[in-house]
């Protein structure tokens, strides 16, 4: 007979997060309830919590990097990145969007979180892609504009997610290391980040074709004459 009780923690997390309760509170509740069900005394749960928290301090070493990034931002790091991105030369919307995803993957892989939807996509990438798409043709239909913008938003996520773990100090790698070492498998960051590279390369190829398909759709607008918005 399978003991289903340990799954209650998973249920608490799923319901708690779906109800948009504070993530820390949900996780703590799930942890404590799971511990109680496993017959661990409340003091032992507190001790386990504290011990694990102390042991995994390295997960939060990214805090040490923040003052350096903050200083560079004060002196124009973001503005410089904007200047660089605005020099992207793309013959088509798809090309602009792909080149941005490429830059985003490389920079985030170096530990530089320079992108983001509010700071790069809305003010720069989406307008640049729209402008590239409109070059030498009738104005974009509403539907086409929406499609280009959505693809621009996707480019930031693609670059950000699949480039992230290539950085040797990435928070994601530190979490993987922590979870596995709690279960008796000691890992070194130096042996981990390289395994994120194949996925990173594959993601760029996949996104290249995604952007290309976006371009092809633009070149065959359905009934351009009838489409007067």
């Amino acid at each position: 007979m399978i003991n289903y009780w340990p799954l209650i923690g998973v249920g608490i997390i799923t319901i708690g997060l779906a109800l948009r309760l504070n993530t820390l509170l949900v996780i703590l509740t799930a942890g404590v309830v799971t511990g109680l069900i496993a017959d661990i005394a409340i003091m032992d749960i507190l001790s386990t919590l504290g011990a694990s928290f102390t042991k995994n301090r390295y997960m939060s070493l990214f805090i040490l990097v923040l003052p350096m990034i903050g200083v560079l931002e004060r002196y124009g790091l973001r503005q410089r990145a904007e200047t660089l991105i605005s020099t992207i030369k793309g013959a088509s919307a798809g090309r602009v969007i792909f080149l941005y995803a490429l830059l985003r993957t490389i920079t985030v892989g170096l530990g530089l979180n320079l992108g983001g939807h509010p700071s790069m996509i809305r003010p720069l990438v989406a307008p640049m892609a729209e402008a590239a798409a409109e070059k030498g043709r009738t104005p974009l239909s509403k539907k086409e504009t929406m499609q280009i913008r959505a693809l621009s938003a996707a480019s930031d996520n693609f670059g950000n997610f699949f480039g992230q773990l290539i950085f040797i100090g990435a928070g994601g790698l530190l979490l993987i290391k922590g979870v596995l070492s709690d279960n008796g498998f000691e890992l070194e960051l130096g042996d981990m980040y390289v395994w994120a590279i194949p996925t990173g390369i594959a993601s760029l190829i996949v996104f290249f074709f995604t952007a290309k398909i976006g371009d092809l759709r633009l070149k065959n607008p359905e009934q351009p004459q009838a489409d007067k918005e």
Partner: protein, 301 residues
């Protein structure tokens, strides 16, 4: 050596706390300051005090965060005009201090053979000194700038440490056995490929439900990845872990639960359909999940 780096991080957090307390521009300065103070103390003292006291500190952090006692302050900022002017002066040299961190960490790891974590800490400090030297920014203002970034992250800064503790408690409670029993009920004589798919697709699915790949990782790795792949099939833990997390990110592309990445941008870009970003990402996300599954299958065993 690593302990010194934790002490340094703790002291930095305490400096943030002091600046938070005296930040009259922040209506929630007491809560914000307390949060960073307690967190900083857990870094400095964690090794030396009984674990249950740290446990109580963790409880206090949770209460401050979930009661909404934290807020954004003021950081003696100079505005965009100043940054624009400085960006022209410094040009691409602004990127150099930032590059010290990844390069320094990898060099430290290969040259000294000691933990890359120490390299990360040392490189961060060297990079900060380089940035201050380049821009002539004062140490006090550097701390303000760090605090500005940490306040925007807020309580999420301690999420990873939280999830690790959760994973540990889950493991103690035997969740791994339960999940692997269930998986074995569903796929009794699974081949290796089926097991790999159970893990990668499980990561994606749980991330879709929870909206957070980190949370899914703690659950699915203790439940499926460890018992079935790493222990059961002798999989390489580094490869299984890294590609497992990346499979979770495929789920992030497909879920409205990850609002910051998918829903907020749709609003920001004034899209008519708030799920438009997810629709665009769905198919490429599935392709990436298939690629991650094959990569794990071929590389980890």
């Amino acid at each position: 050596m690593l302990e010194y780096i934790y002490q340094a991080t703790g002291l930095l957090l305490i400096a943030f706390a002091v600046q938070s307390f005296s930040d009259t521009g922040n209506e929630k300065r007491i809560g914000t300051g307390l949060f960073w103070l307690i967190y900083g103390l857990s870094f400095c003292l964690g090794e030396f005090i009984p674990d249950w006291i740290t446990g109580i500190m963790v409880l206090a952090l949770t209460i401050i965060a979930s009661a909404g006692f934290m807020g954004i302050g003021t950081y003696n900022g100079t505005g965009d005009d100043f940054a624009n002017k400085q960006a022209k002066t410094f040009g691409n040299r602004l990127f150099l201090p930032a590059l010290i961190v990844p390069i320094g960490t990898i060099l430290w790891n290969t040259l000294t053979g000691t933990s890359a974590l120490i390299g990360l800490g040392v490189s961060s400090v060297v990079a900060l000194i380089a940035a201050m030297w380049l821009t002539k920014c004062s140490p006090k203002q550097s701390s303000q700038e760090g605090r500005r970034l940490l306040d925007t992250i807020g309580w999420a800064a301690i999420l990873s440490q939280f999830l690790a503790a959760l994973g540990y408690l889950f493991n103690q409670a035997g969740i791994g056995e339960t999940v692997s029993h269930i998986v074995q009920l569903i796929i009794p004589d699974g081949s290796l490929l089926i097991y790999v798919m159970a893990y990668t697709c499980g990561m994606a699915l749980f991330t879709i439900i929870m909206g957070n790949a980190f949370a899914a990782f703690a659950v699915i790795t203790t439940g499926i990845g460890l018992p079935l792949l790493i222990i059961g099939q002798n999989g390489n833990p580094a490869i299984v872990g890294v590609i497992g997390m990346l499979s979770g990110y495929c789920g992030t592309l497909m879920t409205p639960m990850a609002a910051n990445f998918n829903i907020v941008p749709a609003a920001l870009l004034e899209l008519e359909n708030k799920n438009h970003v997810i629709i665009v990402q769905f198919f490429p996300g599935l392709v990436m999940l298939a690629i991650n599954t094959s990569l794990m299958y071929f590389l980890a065993f």
